[in-house]
Amino acid sequence: MVIAACVAASAWGANAAEARTDLRIGNGGEPQTLDPHRYNLRLEEAILNDLFLGLTTFNASGDIVPGAAASWAVSEDGLTWTFQLRQEGKWSDGHPVTAEDFVYAFRRLLAPSTAASLAHFMYPIRGAAAVNAGTAPAAALGVRASGDHELVIELARPFPFLAERLIYPTGYPVPRHVIEAAGDGWTKPGTMVSNGAFTLHDWRPQAVVELRKNPRFFDAEAVALERIAYYPTSDANAAYNRYRAGELDAIGNFPAGEIGWLSKNMPEHLRLTPLVSIMYLVYNTAAAPFEDARVREALSLAIDRQLITARVLKSGEQPNAGLVPAMVPGYQSALAPAAERPARLARARQLLGAAGHTAEAPLEITLRYISGGESKAVQLAIAAMWKDIGVATTLHHADLKTHFADLRQGEFQVAQAGWFGENNAQHYLDLLVSDTGDVNYGQFSDAAYDALMRRAYAEPELAERLALLAQAEAVGLAKHPVTPLYSVTTRALVHPRITGWIANPRNVHGARYLAWR
């Protein structure tokens, strides 16, 4: 391994003479599409964010900043958002980016024929759900242009997180003049026109997606990179080998088992960043034994989160007792602090006994989890913790698709689940609202929780809304529909001479901010 480190170091050192302007990224998999309205995956977000620019965007630290809109204003009732587009905004073919382009884009996203799988991201807009369902005409959508560079978005109800929602590709403009000429083939290299810092140069499926700097980008002067190659590194070992061999400059996935070696031998390459996310256990509240809140509480009490993160996972995961990740800004959890573990275990045994599960007739359950990765070790640890209160746990694993198909059909007792995405509390607490649908896997339904959430939805003031959300979280978790466990860590290897790669909870790293030292 010493030899390996030396060879690797010399390979990297060879390029030290001049600053490079190309970047080779292991992107974790093949994009399913580069159409911003049809996208569905994080790894597509990374590429699309380099190609396109929404009304808002994020800076190198992941904070929300103006994008294609230079500024915006919100009406007092929180229902009308007015965006002023940049006068100098241009498509990569020289056409100006206008408010009409955004109107076209939002209508296209929500048209049933587009079959956009993330169309519901824009349901906060007035009329969006009806337009997407085909029950209202496109004109019913609350998005209109008032002049070439002023865009007005009207909401169905106050949604203070709209500026954040607009950073996702579902909110990106698309070039009407190209799509109407090229149809579905508009995303092909040579045809695609975009308004971001880079343009699509080449795309060979399962081989590479290549981008080139867009000289017409409004901030092109600040963009250092000329070429970016995104490689679909679906195999973590292969990605790791290619990084170690100096064939890739940054990778977002590598085998967890290598962390020990890396932190000793290549610490300046290793980036472990907590991701705004929550891993949790969900109980099927519609069937025995977990229709009984006492049983759910007992199992929740027996969990030792610290042990899972510090002894099993060991990559800097953050234990999280609430459903809202602790790193979400501006949110004050109203949950009571937990008691010491012996007291919790005693209480758990008491609750199980009261629910009729005794040492003679112990509770027997099946815990479902997703195959692969470190998840088995976590589930084994959980089974051991439950053994401490006399619960016999059988483990059952399946691939991701099968796992969630089972969960949706209610074919589970208790199961592993996770949620990530936005950096606001509502995104997580939506999960337990009774009419949320399938992602409320355990079919939890609580009138008090629903009422608090409905009040929060109607509240235009952010601070007031957050207070209501915190109340809802405390009321909901008191019934233990889920046991929150921890926030995951994203691990990446990034060449130490790359600048502008700043750790942030969204784990977003726009290539326009990256450069070689």
Partner: protein, 306 residues
Amino acid sequence: MAAYLARRGATSLMTLLAVITVAFFLIRAAPGGPFDGERRLPAQVEANLRAAYHLDEPLIAQYGRYLLMLGRGDLGPSFRSKDFTVNELIASGLPVSLNVGGFALALAAGLGIAAGAVAGLRPGRRLDRGITVAAVAGLALPPIVVAPLLALVFAVTLGWLPAGGFESPRHVLLPAVALALPYLAAFARLTRGEVAEALAAPHVVTARAKGLPARRIALRHVLPTALLPAVSFLGPAAAALLTGSMVVEEVFALPGLGRHFVQGALNRDYTLVLGTVIVYATLILAFNLAVDALYTRLDPRIRLGR
């Protein structure tokens, strides 16, 4: 011969149709669908998607629609790779697999037969024993073990060859070796056994008794008959190597057919899985047919048409 081939061709087509039918219904029976993920889609969004891909029709109607499309040489749109058709994906993946597989096949057959012949002509000698042991080891080491080792030693540690990708002939070397090893070993063992056996055959013993030089005996009397089984093994070996290996393509990040197949299966990309299955099945049937035809030429004892 022509009638024989025509009949065999017709049987192959029936087999292909059976494979398509079984694969079509099998992949749809797998739990989960192409649009399932961690985030559940709202009912309306899912309905829009299902309508766009005709998944809202009865299964038998979808099957009929698929066969009609196939008749036009159209493998349909990919469910997962929304910006490509299955035809486009296969056109991009197949050449990569053929390239790596072709190199592996040449390596396996060339080196394997040569090593087997050398060993078989001197049975019991040290060289023979060495080759036999190496061949057993080669058979026992599947690509899933060899490929990561090769990558670790020759790419990561020594830095001689690329660890992955498909950009130059150098990128093909390691995956081809990993892919070839078990087949190289199989060719060597097969040839060695046949050669050793042929050496003991009455006509060879006679030739030797008549004082013919060893070189002439080997080239004229031993090898021609001893190579027949190796030729017939070329068919299945070619089919297996040329269609791409999922393991080797994953380890070396090759954009080949095997990778499309794995990603397609994991994502319930119905059309992509079916498309790759059709390509696999067609190649295997074609190679078997070719070998059968070749065999009838090499071995007059095989009678046609019975």
